[in-house]
């Protein structure tokens, strides 16, 4: 189970202004030789070809793909294939099991909410959600988020928002390319850590090139 060397060192396009390139030279997937075989197998699969779409229809796939690009700010290639990763989870019913009373289980909730997204886009932009422009898509989503606990179509908007972001973030931040962007070196078994403490780093860790780029402070 060796790592595809090229797949491991791809950087996601993110400008410095948006938090990109803070950890130059960090390629967590290239550390896979230090991982145990069970972990390596699970993580490296995310860098290889993803399973064929099985659960969502093509129309749902298009809406979901656009939705995930928005939620995770993936404007251009290379992208983490979130929609395939989520489709695989739904096809295998690998959900957390619970659902809100008044809402169906996750797979069904996904299909219905994606259809509503297309309904909203048609009403506001005269096209499906996927075919709407980037800024129009953003506005449609912002209006869903703004509803908070109020209903969007038939369900509390916050419940739908949580469904979308939960699946999207789990896929995105399980991927080594996303780890590279946030300074996380990934699995740590069997090596563990030797240098604990503030500003203490392992030889495999990369220092933040712009430690003063606090997104909160810049906003205030």
């Amino acid at each position: 189970m060796s790592a595809p060397a090229t797949g491991g060192s791809k950087a996601l396009p993110l400008t410095e202004r948006d938090g990109g390139r803070r950890f130059p030279g960090l390629h967590s997937a290239e550390l896979s030789g230090n991982w145990d075989p069970a972990t390596e197998s699970v993580v490296m699969q995310r860098l290889g070809n993803q399973p064929h779409m099985r659960y969502l229809t093509p129309a749902e796939e298009a809406a979901a793909d656009a939705l995930f690009n928005q939620l995770l700010g993936q404007k251009e290639e290379p992208r983490i294939p979130i929609v395939q990763m989520v489709d695989a989870r739904l096809a295998e019913a690998a959900t957390d099991g619970w659902h809100y009373q008044g809402m169906p289980e996750d797979g069904r909730a996904w299909k219905i909410s994606l259809a509503w997204l297309d309904d909203d886009a048609r009403l506001r932009c005269g096209s499906t959600f996927a075919r709407a422009g980037w800024h129009e898509q953003h506005r449609v989503l912002q209006s869903v988020q703004n509803l908070g606990k109020d209903n969007w179509h038939e369900w509390p908007a916050s419940h739908v928002w949580s469904l979308w972001t939960r699946y999207g973030c789990t896929a995105f931040y399980s991927h080594p390319w996303a780890w590279d962007e946030i300074g996380f070196t990934g699995p740590a078994y069997p090596r563990g850590y030797k240098n604990l403490g503030l500003d203490a780093r392992e030889p495999t860790e990369v220092a933040d090139a712009r430690p003063r780029q606090d997104p909160l402070r810049r906003q205030s």
Binding site: D36, V42, G97, W98, Q101, Y173, A178, I182
Partner: protein
């Protein structure tokens, strides 16, 4: 108190590598369905596994039926967040109420070892005040037990896990068998902030050996405690109690889902359990039955075991089954520091404070909260950022700052309320069994505690030098749902965990807790199981009790 090895040899039965000895597992004793075992236990978590080990050592013919797998940590567990989904109970459930509580991840368990396989590792004791909150504070409930009844069992279990930490000044002051672990940047900031804010904080108490313990190795500080400890350093019943149980003739039958407890309508006694294994239904005969399926599945099993004698569910004559289910309010507050914290390095459980645990008469709420270090991995950290309303490019920008954040978590003592309960839904699982509907609503005291805990954590992080703080509101742990009480109209089991309605049916898990304090429940669940076992053994030896016959 006897030596640890004399009462539980698990750590010495483990191989000098991860996981448990395959020989012990493959060579274990196996009972037939038709054998009337002395006790069949439903669920191999904190309660069930402890009970199993104690009774096996006393020579009982005991068997545990576990719905999930018998884990092989080296093969089955990964050092990865998303890849650890199988550690959770993910069968269908419905959540409802004014404040519905998501299930199936941190507050659930599946497989041998239960939720302790992925718990952080904090094992604080309850305080003496936890056992009489109704008389002392006018809220919650009084236990039919006193702290002193549990103390010797706390001490025993602390030795067996074993627990590492500083001398503990809160509740009933006590020491720990292992010295405190060194702390990471996250723990350092908590200690620094607490000192400046005038709050006492201590290192521990964690169920991670500091040094070798039997054949268990030292912790390697890899930070993936919540994904199952591949190292064998963090305690879970899989390595702390199951090996000794197997060595003493217990059987662990994994991948078996108990669907019904059988009760003889004429004698009113339990006769065994119906279970499903690889699609086939079985019936295991037993002289006694102990249910240890935790706060959602235990009530569900009782409610699904209705019969002519118990038309509203087993042990439910007084409409107590499923009620008084509690979660702890568990807000997490993070602070931003210019230095790199890299909070994910080292175990998430490091430092805690129980200074705000009890009722403070100057505050407008009753009871209190504790504060502990937590250290979310990337996916969980993204939930923190999303909870602030950020998404898209904004989210990516915040996430790129991950190395600079430290994080604390509080556990707020939410109060037991009759309306917070499990009932059966119309919805059925793939076996045709009605699934649990868990309804939860906070009371005013709960909400006030959430705010107080957030303010407390913000003060500590700010005192440590945080430039900004953010908070996410969430829940942790489940207890109650089949509580112990002094009388049958107020609970489901007595102080010995024996059900009021069926003399040879016990409930031995977190669902028996009448209140929860602001302590993580694992240690208390194990201590209650050890006490229950001691009672059963004593009764069977001297013939004074009605148990086991």
């Amino acid at each position: 108190m006897t030596g640890v090895r004399e009462r539980n040899g698990s750590a010495w039965l483990l191989p000098a590598r991860p996981g448990i000895d395959p020989g012990l597992r493959d060579g274990m004793r196996r009972f037939d369905d038709g054998d009337e075992v002395d006790l069949v236990i439903v669920g191999a978590g904190a309660g069930g596994a402890t009970l199993l080990q104690r009774l096996a050592r006393a020579g009982w013919r005991v068997l545990v039926l576990e719905a999930g797998p018998f884990w092989d940590p080296e093969r089955d567990w990964v050092s990865d967040e998303a890849g650890s989904h199988d550690l959770y109970w993910t069968e269908p459930r419905v959540i409802s109420g004014a404040d519905p509580v998501p299930l199936g991840s941190n507050n659930s368990g599946r497989g041998v070892g239960g939720s302790m396989v992925h718990f952080a590792g904090y094992v604080p004791r309850f305080h003496p005040s936890d056992f009489h909150t109704l008389s002392a504070d006018g809220v919650g409930a009084d236990w039919p037990l006193r702290y002193e009844d549990l103390r010797p069992y706390y001490e025993d279990i602390e030795g067996e896990l074993p627990v590492a930490g500083e001398h503990w000044p809160w509740g009933d002051p006590h020491g720990y068998p292992h010295r405190p672990h060194p702390v990471s940047g996250n723990g350092e900031l908590f200690l620094r902030g607490a000192l400046k804010a005038g709050v006492t904080a201590k290192v521990g108490p964690v169920a991670i050996a500091n040094g070798r313990f039997g054949n268990r190795p030292h912790c390697i500080y890899r930070g993936f405690c919540l994904q199952g400890c591949k190292v064998n350093a963090k305690a879970s019943p899989l390595i702390t109690h199951i090996p000794d149980a197997l060595a003493h003739g217990a059987e662990v039958r994994a991948d078996t889902m108990v669907t019904r407890v059988a009760v003889d309508g004429r004698t009113g006694r339990a006769t065994g359990v119906h279970y499903e294994h690889r699609g086939t239904e079985h019936f295991q005969r037993a002289r006694m039955v102990a249910v240890a399926g935790y706060s959602i599945e235990t009530p569900r099993l009782l409610l699904n075991s209705a019969s002519q004698r118990f038309p509203d569910g087993l042990c439910n004559d007084f409409d107590q089954v499923g009620r008084y289910l509690m979660v702890q309010g568990a807000p997490q507050t993070a602070g931003r520091f210019e230095q790199e914290v890299r909070m994910w390095k080292a175990p998430p459980p490091e430092v805690s404070s129980e200074e705000f645990y009890e009722t403070d008469p100057t505050r407008p709420y009753k009871r209190g909260y504790s504060i502990q270090t937590v250290s979310p991995l990337p996916i969980t950290w993204a939930e923190h950022i999303m909870a602030q309303g950020h998404w898209g490019t904004d989210l990516r920008k915040y996430m790129s700052d991950y190395v600079h954040w430290a994080c604390l978590g509080a556990l707020c003592e939410f109060l037991p309320q009759a309306g917070n309960r499990v009932t059966l839904s119309e919805e059925k699982d793939r076996r045709g069994m009605p699934v649990a509907n868990f309804s939860y609503s906070q009371c005013e005291n709960d909400t006030a505690l959430m705010h107080a805990a957030q303010a407390g954590m913000e003060e500590i992080l700010t005192a440590a030098g945080a430039e900004e703080v953010i908070t996410i509101n969430r829940y942790a742990h489940l207890v109650g749902g089949a509580r112990m009480a002094a009388t049958q109209d107020a609970g489901v089991v007595n102080s010995d965990c024996v059900s009021f309605a069926v003399p040879n049916l016990l409930i031995v898990d977190g669902s028996v807790l009448p209140t929860q304090g602001s302590a993580n429940p694992a240690l208390t669940i194990m201590a209650i199981a050890a006490r229950t076992a001691a009672g059963l053994i004593a009764a069977s030896r001297n013939g004074t009790g009605h148990l086991p016959n």
